[in-house]
């Protein structure tokens, strides 16, 4: 799954397949990170929640 | 409270994130996968120096030349020895699986004395001194009582130094009761004694024949020397030779032959005479041989012409008249025709008339002692020991008749162990006090097992020289552990049809497992313990010395090559070959008794009560002799032969329909001798009315890889002594099969 695994070859199959995989993983990873960061920033701004302290 | 929860949550999340980001889980995952790749409970064979040792494996019928690959001190593989005569580098499956027997858990590793009742399996280990002390006490008792003849021995085969030592021991001791397990070689030997007038071994120059007419011989089912036969068969295929197989069941041989001629079981000899009828009638025989080197032809001709017309023979055998005529003509016109017999693997002896008839076919074609024909070979004569000195007791014993009637009631026979049970039971001519068994496993291989087991119970002392805890060892009073075929020296005289004198040398390949002693050594030690003339008869310090001295100038060559063979051997010319009264080949020896001997032998049992006929069959995938099938062999057995612990018998779908049986049905197989539950396998490759059962299953001894699987056919069949030779002539038995 990584270019350093020995069965990796720089051919079309690997680039398309692994490209698709890493693309999907990136979206998911970045998306969730974005959500967490945004939520954290919103919280810092004092938004949200029913019980403020 | 809220802060606590927040703290708790953050802590939890933080810990989880920290663990995942640390190398720990990844390291553990990796380590676990590596651990799974080398589980401590999965064996990891040790490396070591590779060496190869040539030897001869004594497991199969005639001995395979083997090369044993060793790594360090371990033997890891047995392969065929390149250049070994006959085998030429090939190996049979039994010898190839030999390491499973050698390293197997049922090896006997120290002397064992019976504790419980016979066959119960309760043992106590004893020292060799105690064990030998017990045997000499029993033996000395027989001599003291003046009945040395009450001691007998059964070994596997007649030739070779170990059987010779047993024979010598008994002779010097005073007993004529040296027995071995007879095979088709004995039937052929009887035929050669009667027709050639010589004591000979039969040999077949198969590789040079171009038309082979096999009367039931399982050419590729383990007949003769199996590997040599396979090679000859392949040679015939390459050369375009014709093979016609006469037998009631489509064996592998029949399937690979040019033509399968199904024949009623037991009528193979009649078919041979039917062919002789055509050959004689159409004057297709070899005039030179018949006119100038044979006698009794007229009687033979008259009998065959009168009684074995195609019509009669067709009725007896079930073969079309046209087939009889065409096969006879083809056979007679072939360049090098050869007729062979001995059913299946040739472990059964069969009717003398059948062997005589087939041999007569070869004689008619003048193939005796000719290229591509049947040869008479001298019996192995390399053991030249002086006659053992006999004291009075021994002379007295040796003057007695043998228990099995060989040499007395049946002059041409040498060993008839199937007659032992009756002799013991009836104490006629006398009882048996001590039985020694070495290399043989009569409590598995002899027909009429149920009877035999009972009668052997009457023998006060049975001592088994055994490598493995086989059925006979399990029933013995004392088991003397013998080194395996890879741990000892032994000469192996070829007797299964190789057309040249050949002696193989088995040698120690690996260090001995357990505290074993070579049977030869044990005999020498027993002789010394008994003292007197017995001790004098065994002048050798040990077996290895004995063997070396016996083989004399052959020893060095055998050590180097693994065998000794007389490559220049040629059989005697016709003018020197025959030592009958007439000096000619005898077509009609007295034993034929006006042709009665040529009539097909009826199987045992009442046809009304037992409407079917059971014919045991041999398969190369199951060892059916004294050596049991190791796990690898049983693994190769098809699931239509053995399923779980249940064995299948073959029947024709036509017979099955009549009995209401289907593929896989459980059925009760009953014969006059016994009964067993089996499953049914439908096969178009067996004549209707017959039940085919594989030999070699149904062991009660050995381990769970073998024991309890299937039925021992020898418990269902009985022996019938041939009126002329005394050998067991039975080829089957009447049987019934009913839904179980």
């Amino acid at each position: 799954m990584f270019p350093f695994n020995f069965e990796w070859i720089w051919d079309m199959s690997h680039m398309v397949f692994m490209g698709g995989l890493w693309y999907a993983l990136s979206i998911l990873g970045l998306g969730i990170t974005f959500c967490i960061v945004k939520a954290a920033m919103d919280t810092a701004k004092g938004k949200g929640g029913t019980h403020h302290h | 409270m809220k802060i606590d929860r927040r703290c708790f949550l953050s802590l939890g999340v933080g810990a989880a994130a920290g663990t995942v980001l640390s190398p720990l889980p990844w390291k553990i995952t990796d380590d676990l996968s590596i651990w799974s790749q080398m589980w401590p409970w999965t064996p990891w064979p040790a490396q070591g120096e590779n060496t190869f040792t040539n030897s001869v494996s004594t497991l199969c019928t005639d001995g395979c030349g083997i090369t044993v690959r060793k790594v360090g001190g371990r033997a890891v593989k047995i392969e065929g020895m390149a250049g070994y005569p006959g085998n030429e580098g090939g190996i049979c499956n039994l010898c190839a699986a030999g390491l499973q027997l050698h390293y197997g858990p049922t090896r006997v590793r120290e002397p064992m004395m019976r504790v419980g009742s016979r066959g119960e399996g309760q043992w106590r280990t004893v020292s060799w001194e105690q064990a030998l002390g017990e045997v000499s006490r029993q033996l000395a008792g027989a001599r003291k009582a003046g009945t040395p003849e009450a001691v007998g021995a059964i070994v596997d085969q007649p030739y070779g130094s170990v059987p010779a030592l047993f024979r010598r021991f008994l002779t010097a001791f005073g007993s004529p009761n040296f027995m071995y397990t007879p095979t088709m070689a004995d039937a052929y030997a009887a035929v050669l004694r009667l027709t050639h007038g010589t004591d000979s071994l039969v040999g077949f120059d198969l590789e040079h024949a171009d038309y082979i007419l096999s009367f039931g011989s399982g050419i590729i089912d383990g007949w003769g020397s199996p590997v040599r036969m396979f090679r000859a068969h392949s040679q015939w295929k390459t050369d375009g030779a014709t093979v016609k197989q006469v037998e009631p069941r489509l064996s592998n041989t029949a399937a690979q032959s040019s033509q399968w001629i199904p024949v009623n079981p037991g009528s193979e000899g009649a078919l041979a005479l039917g062919l002789a009828h055509i050959i004689i009638k159409e004057s297709l025989y070899d005039y030179d041989f018949v006119n100038n080197y044979a006698s009794g032809f007229e009687q033979f001709r008259d009998l065959v012409l009168a009684q074995f017309s195609p019509g009669n023979v067709s009725r007896l055998t079930g073969v079309d008249q046209s087939t009889i005529v065409s096969v006879a003509r083809e056979f007679a016109r072939a360049h090098r025709p050869l007729a062979i017999c001995g059913r299946g693997q040739g472990r059964t002896t069969g009717e003398l008339g059948y062997f005589l008839a087939v041999h007569a076919l070869n004689a008619l074609m003048g193939t005796i002692n000719r290229p591509g024909g049947v040869w008479a070979l001298p019996v192995p004569d390399y053991i030249q020991w002086p006659e053992p000195p006999l004291d009075d007791v021994a002379r007295g014993g040796m003057a007695k008749e043998r228990l099995d009637g060989a040499g007395s009631a049946f002059p041409v026979a040498r060993s008839l162990p199937h007659r032992l049970a009756a002799a013991i039971r009836e104490q006629k001519p006398y009882g048996l006090q001590v039985l020694m068994v070495s290399g043989a496993n009569p409590l598995y291989t002899l027909p009429g097992q149920t009877d035999l087991q009972q009668t052997l119970g009457q023998v006060p002392f049975i001592v088994s020289f055994a490598t493995h805890m086989d059925e006979t060892a399990a029933y013995a009073d004392l088991v003397l552990p013998a080194p395996s075929h890879l741990e000892r020296y032994e000469d192996v005289a070829s007797t299964a049809g190789y057309p040249r004198p050949l002696i193989g040398l088995a040698r120690p390949v690996v260090p001995r497992e357990g505290d074993t002693r070579h049977p030869g050594d044990v005999l020498i030690q027993l002789a010394a313990a008994l003292g007197g003339s017995l001790q004098e008869a065994f002048p050798w310090p040990d077996y290895d010395t004995c063997l070396q001295e016996t083989l004399a100038d052959r020893w060095e060559a055998m050590l180097a090559d693994g065998y000794w063979a007389n490559d220049r051997f040629q059989p005697d010319n016709w003018d020197a070959a025959f030592a009958t009264a007439s000096g000619r080949f005898e077509f009609f020896p007295d034993a034929v008794k006006d042709g009665a001997l040529f009539q097909p032998l009826e199987p045992e049992g009442d046809a009304a009560q037992f409407p079917l006929v059971l014919i045991p069959y041999d398969t190369a995938r199951i060892s059916n002799g004294p050596v049991a099938s190791p796990p690898f062999l049983i693994k190769t057995v098809a699931d239509y032969v053995l399923k779980g612990k249940e064995m299948f018998v073959e029947i024709n779908p036509e017979s099955a329909d009549a009995l209401g049986l289907r593929e896989g049905s459980a059925a009760r197989l009953t014969t006059p001798r016994g009964s067993a539950t089996v499953r049914v396998h439908l096969s178009h490759g067996i004549m209707p009315g017959l039940v085919g059962a594989p030999r070699g299953l149904g062991h009660t001894a050995y381990d769970d890889y073998l024991a309890g699987k299937g039925v021992n056919v020898n418990a269902l069949v009985g022996a019938i002594s041939d009126p002329a030779s005394g050998l067991d002539a039975a080829w089957g038995i009447r049987a019934s099969l009913a839904k179980a």
Binding site: - | T42, V71, K77, S234, L250, A620, R621, D639, D703
Partner: protein, 272 residues
């Protein structure tokens, strides 16, 4: 599935099995088990649970007595080349590259420490040449002494199969390299079953090498994906375009019919 190596130097190891000579004795199976540390259980009569890299099938012609006929067909791994080289039924589906097509030798390998036991390859193989280790291999006490150190013992939970005795190839190559050779003689590398077959029915060698007996017997046509030129020869299920490297010889028409459907075999190169 790396396809590389200098053209012309690559081997295509294959087998020719003469079914007219095969006696069905089972020596090849035994030799294979002994060479390759194949385990065994107390009951091996359920053939679907019995690890037999080499299995000898019994074929029947389906005719009634007395026209019945049988033939034995030894079945090692067929080392399929597939529609294009390396696209064997099993190699193409293994998710973890645990079975591989070696372009240098044409041998389909099985990497035991890589296989995680998904059994997809077994589903893919029409020859049932692949076997799963349902149990831990256990040898009766003492018998583990005969295990061959050149072949690793397989652990439970993985798939194994015939590899044309690849360890023998490696040993032969090592020896050749040591002696400064790059090529093997025909007889330097032979599988255990070939060596053991008492009937000489199995012949093994390089199908690309006209000097080798396998080539002479099968007469494979490289332009037609190795179609045998010898009319006596056929490949099992060749119509599936597996392109096996095991050829069978038989003079019996019904055996040919049982082994393949000649009329359906597609011409070469159609599938690229």
């Amino acid at each position: 599935m790396k396809i590389e190596g200098e053209q012309g130097k690559s081997k295509k190891y294959g087998m020719v099995i003469d079914l007219d000579k095969c006696t069905g004795c089972g020596a090849c199976m035994v030799a294979c088990m002994a060479e390759n540390n194949v385990p065994f259980k107390q009951d091996e009569s359920d053939k679907r649970l019995s690890i037999t890299w080499m299995r000898v099938y019994q074929l029947t012609n389906g005719k009634a007595f007395p026209d019945a006929d049988i033939c034995y067909l030894p079945r090692p791994c067929q080392h399929c080349e597939g529609m294009h080289e390396g696209h064997s039924p099993c190699v193409s589906v293994c998710p973890a590259t645990a079975t591989d097509y070696d372009a240098q030798t044409g041998i389909v390998s099985q990497i035991y420490t890589r296989c995680f036991g998904c059994r997809y390859c077994m589903a893919a193989c029409p020859y049932h040449a692949r076997h799963f280790n349902w149990w831990d291999p256990v040898w009766p006490e003492g018998m583990e002494k005969y295990l061959n150190p050149d072949v690793s013992v397989r652990m439970r939970g993985i798939v194994e199969k015939c590899g044309f005795c690849f360890s023998r190839y490696q040993k032969a190559m090592e020896k050749a390299h040591y002696e400064g050779r790059r090529e093997l003689e025909e007889l330097e590398y032979q599988t255990a079953c070939t060596q053991a077959c008492p009937a000489g029915a199995i012949v093994f060698g390089d199908l690309n090498n006209p000097q080798h007996r396998v080539h002479q017997l099968a007469q494979p046509d490289p332009r037609r994906r190795g179609r045998p030129g010898n009319p006596k020869a056929f490949r099992l299920l060749e119509e599936l375009q597996t392109y096996p490297k095991v050829y069978y010889l038989s003079s019996r028409e019904w055996v040919h019919k049982a082994g393949h459907k000649a009329e359906l075999i597609k011409e070469a190169g159609a599938h690229h």
